[in-house]
């Protein structure tokens, strides 16, 4: 092998956590008999379920705690409810969720407009930083995008 160091004294802490027993071919599980009895532990108290929480059909219940950031809503919520009728190994679960995410984006824009907020796409995409640190690249991308858009418009307007 090339460049193989023999003296590691220049590397602070070299080998201090070396553990010959940490061989992944050894069994790693530390399960006791009671762990084989299934859902047997004393569960923490249940967080009140006062919002809609979609839960995987691969578990019997809502977990003791859960996030409340965004309950399902609107059309995206309907798609999410459909997705949660299927197991986690199924594309019928994940692909609708991806679709719901995209519908959610449109709903988010409509929601902003309904509240009188016009999304500042330039700022939301962090283009200020791009302008500051990569102005040439940004201008090139804008020029290419403008040229392609113009070409498409010209093509569409031709008889």
């Amino acid at each position: 092998m090339e460049n193989k160091a023999k003296d590691y004294s220049h590397i602070k802490g070299w080998g201090i956590d070396a553990d010959p027993k940490n061989d992944p071919t050894y069994p790693m599980r530390k399960r006791e008999n009671e762990d084989h009895e299934g859902y047997s532990w004393d569960r923490p108290p249940q967080q009140p379920v006062d919002i809609e929480v979609l839960h995987s059909i691969e578990r019997p219940n809502v977990t003791a705690v859960f996030g409340t950031s965004r309950p399902p809503r609107g059309l995206s919520g309907k798609i999410r409810r459909f997705a949660f009728r299927y197991g986690e190994g199924s594309f019928a679960h994940w692909l609708p969720l991806v679709m719901a995410d995209r519908v959610d984006v449109v709903e988010g824009i409509l929601d902003d407009l309904r509240k009188g907020h016009l999304p500042n796409i330039w700022a939301e995409r962090g283009m200020g930083a791009e302008w500051k640190y990569n102005r040439k690249g940004l201008l090139q991308r804008m020029a290419v995008t403008t040229a392609l858009t113009a070409a498409v418009i010209v093509l569409l307007k031709r008889d």
Partner: protein, 385 residues
């Protein structure tokens, strides 16, 4: 309060009228955030690659802060404590937590059994708001949070929530034995820490691959390792074979995950069209570069569906594949000591301190690797440190 607000792929903003989080469970705490990182895995959310990422969510799973309020059953923290909050949300009581698999807690994520609870990481990991905000709700406050030791720099503390433990865990899962050749794919913050940690297990040679020269320069100095730009190598796997007497590395670490570059097929089918759960280039290279009977350790994050990887090669070569989200709580005592003893210097990887109000620019800088960015940290206006 001020909080980051996801509006869609590559669109985020700061909302100044976000409602304050509330105690919703007797074991909850409310933490005032003093530092919050943007993580490489946040970019999967940012790019819209993680299913069930809902508009309006606040990201952020790497944060520290000050306890402002506690629920009635919280006994191990008090108001005013400054705490490191592991990115895993774990009950400490289920069969998985009992085995210290805190990242697999069965009482923190109703939406999926294949993932535990994580702060600010979509509804796929529980639907919790994250720490890229002035305040955040921290469930199971008796279990995860650790009081920051006296004298520890906040920039060191915030990197102990994920980056340092995950890099260390990547090396640990490799089962590195003294003298082993270890390859790390990815010179992002986690890859840098994995390379650094590999030496602690006695690696004989550490090699890092990336495509960003400034990151390769950094990791060469910081982790005292070899580092190569895969853009200047026609086939990194062949390169690895040639440099290891045609045998391959003893341990290969995937510290990239779904955003990998290097293979047009993987990029188009993974990152661009979402036909697979991200681009699995790093994992493909890891399986093909590892020695027969070697170990592939995966800490790079992938989506929940499927990926194209050479599983046949893994079988034929007798490769052991290990992967998991890091159980931060298990590793914290040891890693805190390593930082205190000067073995690890996490804060050296922080290149940018960015006001929380400029979070959209922060994501853009990190995502596009502008201004030689390695690790950006967000500082809320109410941090006061």
């Amino acid at each position: 309060m001020i909080a980051m607000n996801y509006r869609g792929p590559q669109r985020i903003r700061v909302d100044r009228d976000t409602p304050m989080p509330e105690i919703l469970h007797p074991q909850d705490a409310i933490v005032r955030v003093t530092r919050a990182c943007i993580c490489g895995s946040d970019l999967h959310l940012y790019n819209g690659n993680v299913p069930d990422t809902r508009v309006g969510e606040t990201f952020g799973h790497e944060f520290i802060g000050v306890v402002e309020e506690i629920g009635s059953d919280v006994t191990k923290l008090k108001v005013g404590d400054q705490v490191i909050v592991p990115f895993n949300i774990a009950c400490g009581e289920c069969t998985f937590c009992e085995q210290e698999l805190y990242s697999c807690c069965h009482e923190a994520n109703p939406q999926a059994t294949a993932a535990g609870g994580i702060f600010g990481y979509s509804h796929m990991t529980g639907g919790y708001n994250g720490g890229q905000a002035e305040y955040v709700r921290v469930p199971y406050a008796n279990v995860g949070p650790m009081v920051i030791p006296e004298g520890m720099h906040p920039d060191d503390a915030v990197l102990l929530t994920d980056v340092v433990p995950t890099g260390y865990h990547a090396a640990e899962m490799g089962g590195i034995q003294k003298g082993d050749t270890v390859v790390v794919f990815g010179a992002g913050p986690v890859g840098i820490m994995a390379a650094k940690s590999a030496w602690l297990f006695g690696a004989g040679r550490v090699i890092v691959f990336d495509k960003e020269e400034y990151r390769l320069d950094f990791v060469r100095k910081y982790a005292q390792c070899e580092a190569y730009n895969f853009l200047s190598i026609s086939d990194p796997v062949v390169f690895m074979k040639k440099t290891t007497d045609s045998l391959g590395a003893d341990v290969c670490i995937d510290a990239v995950g779904a955003e990998a570059s290097g293979s047009k097929l993987q990029t188009v089918t993974g990152r661009k069209t979402l036909m697979q759960a991200g681009s699995a280039t790093a994992l493909q290279w890891a399986i093909n570069s590892v020695k027969k009977g070697g170990v592939v350790s995966i800490v790079g994050v992938y989506g929940p569906t499927v990926n194209m990887v050479p599983i046949g090669n893994a079988v034929n070569k007798g490769v052991t594949i290990r992967g998991s989200q890091t159980s931060v709580k298990r590793l914290l005592p040891k890693l805190v000591k390593h930082v205190q003893d000067g073995i690890l210097d996490p804060k050296a990887i922080i290149t940018h301190h960015i006001p929380l109000e400029e979070v959209a620019d922060g994501y853009r800088i990190f995502a596009d690797k502008l201004d030689n960015c390695i690790k950006p940290v967000l500082v809320p206006p109410s941090a006061n440190i």
